[in-house]
């Protein structure tokens, strides 16, 4: 996870990305729902949803009200096969029946079947999927086996057999509906089971157990509401499938005998040689109603899918357009003043960031990085400190041009000063140049990078892949040698090259990721919380390696973390970020001894010293002071997005 959306402030970092109804795109304070609990579950308005609802409602109304408005569909007249017009808006059949009247009754029949199948199939899948998934053990195995068996039985042939087995005179619309429901629930049950398995391990379910809730209540109150969007989507899908299957069955002559449906209408049209006579008005309308109804429901399903997975919500693609205008002399300032080539310690600068602004476009644009200027000296370790949502990750991504829409660099420059003396304007690089540049001159270790290794490819293959891409001239022997070399550098036995990621511990995987970043001998390495997920002892080992490389290989490091004491220990200079701004930028010594900005002081105070005096805030009556401090921070924080 990266800080994709700083607008969500402290809330977004670490939020489960797949929370149903979670609004990672909406921020914490958009809605004031009050008591209405269902608003979060409703799809957001979109043209797709509008068109879909329009189609479905129109057809449903036609099915419900139509039959009352039209005449008897079965009246036989002697004016067979008249084309639309006059008394019969949609013409007549071979035997002179009114097609419009038939269509109205058929639509009603098909809707009935669709609805019943939808309800039954959803019910079956919920019972077998949710209960099995929650209870687990033998019940789950039994239910799973049953639904798997139902899943592998080929649906349509079974339906044909069952439908054919029921005598024609007793084959009403509800028989067909039950048959379709019985054959159609299994796939949904599997999906619901998988989702339930994931939900039942959530902490809030554990919390409900600890509170003493009964299992049935946990299922119905804690788990089921979070499955509702999924079930709604499955319901809609079941309805579409039922209407189509019924049409297919009826077309084969296995449909309901006594009630008209769109399928039976097509069946009679086929038997009456409508196609051969060119009587399009007979088979066209029922086909069109099926198609439009299916289309409408699918469109609605798109919107439901967006509730299940908020990431599907499309963000207006303003990115490219805005950049173009910027390059055409827009707001982004190109190459303002000649970049300072030395850093504060008189070292050559390797990376200069000037007045960088990054904005997340969206309904409420968020200024994630505000006018940030930094200079990274050759061989310097620059600490970037800040809390979640402060823009530190966004800044790192923007430096490497890894940010994606809706994030967008609106102004500022990032210049890389190469070892050979050339300056590279990173923001102006074209695609190919950028790819060649990344990793070979500037590499990155991501937050939680240890999970970024491909689990089915050996360490060796993953490392060599980088070399084959960036150093095509290298021989296989040289590649092998280089891979073993970088692993030795990070303290991993080169014999581990043939291991797969799951065979290594978290600390070792993280070392492998650092080795990968070292492969091409980069001049700058950006490390985004490289040790946060690791234990202190392992972290210590990795920090030691980083410091050693810096001394031996002379590259510069941008080290991003919220752990200020750690930065004070290892970095040369520290930039403290808050709400997208660098509030303090000084040497580690300076920040440690004489922090200027109140926020820096507050961050420093947040880390009680391991060996120092017990502070006044600790377990004494004065702790109230501390709590008050937090309240003020909180208000400041929340004032932002609101």
């Amino acid at each position: 996870m990266t800080n994709i959306n700083p607008s969500a402030g402290a809330v977004e970092d670490g939020a489960p990305p797949d929370t149903p109804g979670g609004t990672s795109g909406a921020g914490p304070a958009v809605r004031r729902t009050g008591t209405s609990g269902w608003r979060a579950m409703l799809p957001r308005w979109s043209p797709k949803l509008g068109v879909g609802l329009g189609l479905v409602v129109a057809i449903a109304l036609f099915g419900v009200l139509g039959p009352m408005a039209v005449g008897d569909p079965d009246t036989v007249r002697d004016i067979g096969m008249t084309s639309p017009g006059g008394e019969f808006w949609l013409g007549t059949t071979q035997t002179g029946q009114d097609v419009l009247a038939q269509l109205a009754h058929a639509t009603r029949g098909s809707l009935q079947i669709g609805l019943l199948v939808g309800v039954l199939a959803t019910l079956f899948s919920a019972v077998f999927g949710v209960i099995g998934g929650y209870v687990g053990g033998a019940v789950d195995e039994g239910f799973s086996l049953f639904s798997n068996v139902m899943l592998v039985i080929p649906g349509l042939p079974l339906v044909i057999v069952i439908a054919g087995f029921v005598p024609v005179e007793r084959r009403g619309w509800w028989t067909i509906a039950v048959v379709l429901a019985v054959t159609g629930w299994a796939a949904s049950a599997r999906v619901l089971r998988a989702q339930t398995l994931s939900l039942r391990n959530r902490d809030y379910v554990a919390a409900a157990k600890v509170a003493g809730e009964k299992p049935w209540r946990i299922i119905s109150v804690e788990i089921l509401p979070n499955l509702l969007p999924l079930m709604a989507s499955q319901f809609v899908f079941a309805v579409i499938l039922a209407i189509l299957s019924e049409a297919g069955l009826s077309f084969l002559g296995l449909g309901a005998s006594n009630s008209p449906t769109l399928g039976t209408m097509l069946y009679y049209a086929q038997n009456g040689f409508a196609l051969q006579y060119g009587a399009w008005w007979w088979f066209g309308p029922p086909g069109l109603v099926i198609a439009l109804f299916g289309c409408g429901l699918s469109l609605i399903n798109f919107s439901i899918d967006e509730i299940i997975d908020p990431r599907l919500r499309t963000v207006p693609a303003t990115g490219r357009r805005a950049r173009r205008t910027a390059e055409g002399g827009g707001p982004r300032k190109r190459k303002a003043s000649p970049a300072p080539r030395r850093d504060a310690f008189g070292r050559d600068a390797v990376l200069t960031v000037e007045n960088l602004d990054v904005v997340y476009r969206g309904e409420r644009p968020t200024h994630a990085v505000k006018n940030v200027s930094l200079t990274l000296g050759r061989g310097e370790i620059l600490g970037l400190a800040g809390e979640s949502g402060c823009g530190k990750t966004t800044l790192a991504y923007a430096i490497n041009r890894l940010h994606r829409p809706p994030a967008e660099v609106t102004s500022g420059t990032v210049v890389f000063h190469d070892r050979d003396g050339t300056d590279i304007d990173l923001l102006a690089l074209e695609k190919e140049e950028l790819r060649a540049f990344r990793w070979s001159k500037l590499s990155m270790v991501f937050q939680g990078a240890m999970n970024a290794l491909n689990p089915v490819i050996s360490i060796r293959a993953q490392l060599e892949d980088v070399l084959t891409t960036h150093r095509p001239g290298m021989s296989a022997e040289e590649r092998r040698e280089r891979c073993a070399e970088v692993l030795r550098l990070v303290g991993v036995d080169p014999r581990r090259l043939d291991s797969f990621p799951h065979e290594l511990s978290g600390g070792m995987r993280q070392r492998v990721m650092i080795a990968m970043a070292l492969l091409l001998d980069p001049q700058v390495m950006i490390m985004d919380e490289p040790t946060t997920a690791l234990d202190v002892v392992v972290q210590r080992g990795i920090l030691r390696e980083i410091l050693r490389f810096r001394d031996e290989l002379g590259f510069a490091v941008v080290f991003i973390t919220h752990d200020l004491p750690l930065l004070l220990e290892i970095s040369d200079r520290i930039a403290v970020m808050r709400d997208g701004e660098v509030v303090e930028y000084a040497t580690a010594e300076e920040i440690h001894k004489r922090p200027r900005h109140p926020y820096t002081r507050e961050l420093l105070d947040s880390f009680p010293s391991l060996t120092g005096e017990r502070g006044a805030f600790v377990r004494t009556g004065e702790s109230g002071a501390r709590e008050r401090t937090e309240t003020t921070v909180k208000t400041v924080k929340e004032a932002g997005p609101r």
Binding site: A10, V11, D13, G14, A15, T23, P28, R31, T33, G34, G37, A40, M41, R202, D203, Y204, A206, A207, A208, K209, V210, A211, G212, E213, V221, E222, P225, E387, S505, G507, D535, V536, V537, V538, R540, G541, L543, L547, R548, D551, P565, L568, E569, I570, A588, E602, S606, P608, L610, T611, F617, V618, R619, S623, E627, E630, T631, K634, K637, E638
Partner: protein, 339 residues
């Protein structure tokens, strides 16, 4: 007032890989007592078994063997069906421990109703607001109607703490309650826990991997390593005067701004890089000996507890830090003082 006693707690997980089934001992013979008004910190790295201990106390996992007994102040044992009135838990991740579908009020009202602490709607509402005010979430009426995604991480964790208090719990197990929160609000949440503990005379088990907060917020510290408690004692003693090699390494590894340049000088502790354990899952000996800088042959035997100070026990034959080496204090090396 309730006292919680944990005796000889063991938890085995069976691992299935292919057809082979192996046993993994996540918690091995852990004993301690939580008393009202005191905080015990359980410290260890991930995988040390500390969260498993928490989940067993909260009755989310069944112990393989051992006992967890809650006793009222009058000496009577808390019956199984009342257990949850007495023992509650605060989970690590406030983003996962609150149901995104439900309001704050739901999260607090349910335990209140379940444990029969309120009657009627107005009473529930009043009690919910009182709980929210106790955890400094004001205006309570406004917060109660919100959903988790409308709250910040710190606010969510306060709701989770209020939820633990709702059934009138006397023993609170806090499993890494602040590790998912922003640094600037961590101390605030810990101070809140400390204040509630003082006010209600709670017994608190604080589980963490952070030695510094463990020292500042607890009275006693237990250090766990691969399922076993390797060192226990008063907080300051364990941190400032660690005796077990593992505790010493842990304390030395914590970031310390005063110790700049130490990494450039190399590691005086001689710690071997962390890797996968070379020891078999049911090895009886010291679980740390594959990484220990001062491992000896005798470490392959089951280590015993030694008292090295007032209430300060260490499960290591070497007891480094003793000025005169491995002098058996009042006991033979083989006849230590098992606790």
């Amino acid at each position: 007032m309730t006292t919680l006693e944990v005796r000889g707690l063991v938890k085995d997980f069976s691992l299935r890989s292919g057809l082979r089934q192996s046993r993994f001992r996540a918690v091995d013979d852990v004993s301690f007592t939580l008393t009202p008004g005191r905080t015990v910190a359980l410290v260890g790295e991930s995988g040390s078994g500390k969260s498993t201990v928490a989940r067993m106390i909260a009755r989310l996992e069944r112990p393989t063997s051992g006992e967890i007994v809650a006793t009222r102040s009058d000496g009577t044992r808390v019956a199984d069906r009342d257990y949850r009135d007495h023992v509650q838990m605060v989970f690590q991740d406030p983003f996962a421990s609150l149901n995104p579908f439900h309001t704050v009020e739901h999260h607090l009202a349910r335990p209140l109703k379940l444990h029969g602490r309120v009657k009627g709607k107005a009473d529930t509402r009043r009690e919910v607001e009182r709980l929210l005010e106790r955890v400094n979430l004001t205006p309570a009426g406004d917060i109660a109607g919100r959903r988790p995604h409308e709250l910040s991480g710190g606010q969510r964790q306060r709701v989770a703490i209020a939820r633990a208090l709702a059934p009138g719990a006397r023993v609170v197990v806090a499993d890494e309650p602040v590790s998912m929160l922003d640094v600037s609000i961590r101390l605030g949440v810990l101070n809140l826990l400390a204040r509630l503990q003082r006010e209600d005379d709670l017994a608190v088990l604080y589980i963490t991997h952070d030695l510094a907060t463990a020292r500042h917020f607890s009275d006693d510290i237990l250090v766990m390593y691969r399922g076993r408690v390797v060192e226990r004692g008063p907080a300051d003693e364990v941190i400032l005067n660690p005796r077990h090699p593992y505790t010493r390494i842990l304390a030395a590894a914590a970031p310390d701004p005063e110790a700049r340049d130490r990494d450039r000088l190399g590691d005086a502790l001689g710690l071997k890089p962390a890797g996968d354990s070379a020891l078999p899952g049911d090895d009886p000996g010291c679980t740390f000996r594959d990484r220990c800088p001062s491992a000896m042959e005798i470490c392959a035997r089951r280590p015993e507890d030694f008292e090295v100070g007032q209430g300060h026990h260490v499960r290591c034959r070497l007891r480094p830090g003793d000025d005169d080496g491995a002098r058996p204090t009042g006991a033979d090396t083989t006849a230590g003082r098992p606790v």
